[in-house]
């Protein structure tokens, strides 16, 4: 098995990185390229950029952000938010992204997962699942769906997804720890990698998530201070987690 991955997540609105708590109250925390570079230098294994507004106007801005990030960084990154077609996915990959994350569009039309996987490969398709109480929510967590998180993860895998990005809305931004029960249930139900997301507050939370998932998404825990990622990595090693030597 490859090494466990630490993946800082940058929520992007327009050309800026923002952060909210439980999907509300967005505030500006920096430039995506500069923050991405700082994370890369601090040992990030990958990055995720999520366009949290995903407007048509914002899409052109997002592609430009992706192009600038790719120029600067030599680590993999995933881009999500508003990806609705094979053409959207291709445009982002051609700009330098490695994977696209699908959320609401895949819930509305699950065949989209297959279409993108057939064209760009399973490794290029991440299905992002936002769950509250084990149920899937869509449209930046604002709308309920009829699906359970475990069942939707299994369907996404069957349709060609190469990875699941599982965010617990209950835990997001609280820094009280990942939703380990939900993450373990989804991870056990699929044979593709799972990224745990939402709730990281200290190294022990991340270490616990990496016991049940292949990667951990990091937001609040490192956002205001990318050097915090260096300290987090050191603490994780102290807890016995084997990480990549990024030198």
């Amino acid at each position: 098995m490859p090494l466990p991955r630490l993946i800082p997540c940058l929520d992007v609105a327009g050309s800026r990185v923002v952060k909210g708590v439980r999907f509300q109250g967005l505030r500006d925390v920096g430039d995506p390229v500069e923050l991405g570079a700082a994370y890369s230098e601090s040992g990030a294994d990958e990055l995720v950029f999520l366009d949290v507004k995903a407007t048509l106007e914002g899409r052109r801005t997002l592609v430009e952000v992706v192009r600038r990030v790719a120029e600067r960084l030599a680590i993999p990154f995933t881009v999500g938010g508003g990806v609705r077609s094979v053409a959207d996915a291709e445009q982002l990959l051609r700009a330098g992204a490695d994977r696209v994350a699908l959320n609401s569009a895949a819930l509305e039309r699950p065949a989209l997962v297959t279409e993108i996987a057939e064209r760009l490969g399973a490794q290029a398709v991440v299905v992002a699942i936002d769950a509250a109480g084990g149920r899937v929510r869509s449209r930046a967590a604002s709308a309920a769906t009829s699906r359970g998180a475990v069942e939707w993860a299994q369907e996404a895998e069957a349709r060609g997804a190469g990875e699941i990005l599982l965010t617990s809305i209950d835990a997001d931004g609280t820094r009280a720890g990942y939703d380990l029960v939900l993450t373990a249930a989804v991870s056990a139900a699929v044979s593709i990698p799972v990224i745990a997301s939402g709730g990281a507050g200290k190294a022990a939370h991340v270490a616990a998530a990496l016991e049940v998932a292949q990667a951990a998404l990091l937001a609040s825990i490192v956002h205001e201070d990318p050097a915090g990622l260096t300290r987090l990595r050191a603490e994780l090693r102290g807890l016995g987690v084997t990480l990549r030597d990024a030198a």
Binding site: A74, I75, P76, Q123, P193
Partner: protein, 176 residues
């Protein structure tokens, strides 16, 4: 040093070009005459082979290797260089080296993430792996690098493997 990256619709051409530009290489379009030709690749084997053939790149690459000029295949680019791949119900490859690509049987697939090859960790993202007598390096028992004549193939993505990947590409340039 002039590097030409085969653009056949594969998604990651720009990432590969940017990685070589960071190393000071000049980028060109002519696969036949460049000092180093790169066959990148993400996506599915069948559509990639069809695109290569439609653009006549299959022939150019075979001639280049026969003439002893360096070609670097990355990820799917390595798998397409083999004789055959199991992907998409079975696809005939370029036959630049003996062997075939088979679906990964153990662990989570796709195999995503950083894994050691010798002393360095590189980034992998693959569902198939090569079986070939030309392997020169391995990662967790899987073929990570192959060499056959003037063809070098890597299963990992040096263009996305940070400082270690940059050093790997620099060594390729120095051999071209």
């Amino acid at each position: 040093m002039r590097v030409a990256v085969c653009d056949y619709g594969a998604g990651n051409v720009r990432s590969v070009e940017l990685a070589f530009r960071r190393l000071g290489a000049e980028l060109g379009d002519d696969i036949a005459t460049a000092d180093l030709a790169v066959l990148p690749g993400v996506g599915s084997a069948r559509s990639a082979m069809e695109e290569l053939r439609a653009r006549g790149l299959d022939r150019v690459l075979v001639e280049r290797v026969a003439a002893g000029r360096l070609v670097l295949g990355i990820c799917l680019g390595l798998q397409l260089a083999l004789e055959w791949t199991e992907e998409d119900g079975g696809v005939e490859g370029l036959g630049l080296l003996p062997g075939r690509a088979v679906r990964l049987g153990a662990g989570r697939v796709p195999r995503l993430g950083w894994a050691a090859v010798g002393d360095s960790a590189y980034y992998f993202a693959h569902s198939y792996a090569a079986e070939t007598p030309t392997a020169t390096a391995w990662s967790e028992g899987l073929v990570a690098e192959v060499r056959a004549g003037s063809f070098v193939g890597v299963q990992f993505h040096p263009e996305k493997s940070g400082a270690a990947g940059g050093r790997y590409l620099e060594r390729c340039l120095s051999r071209a």
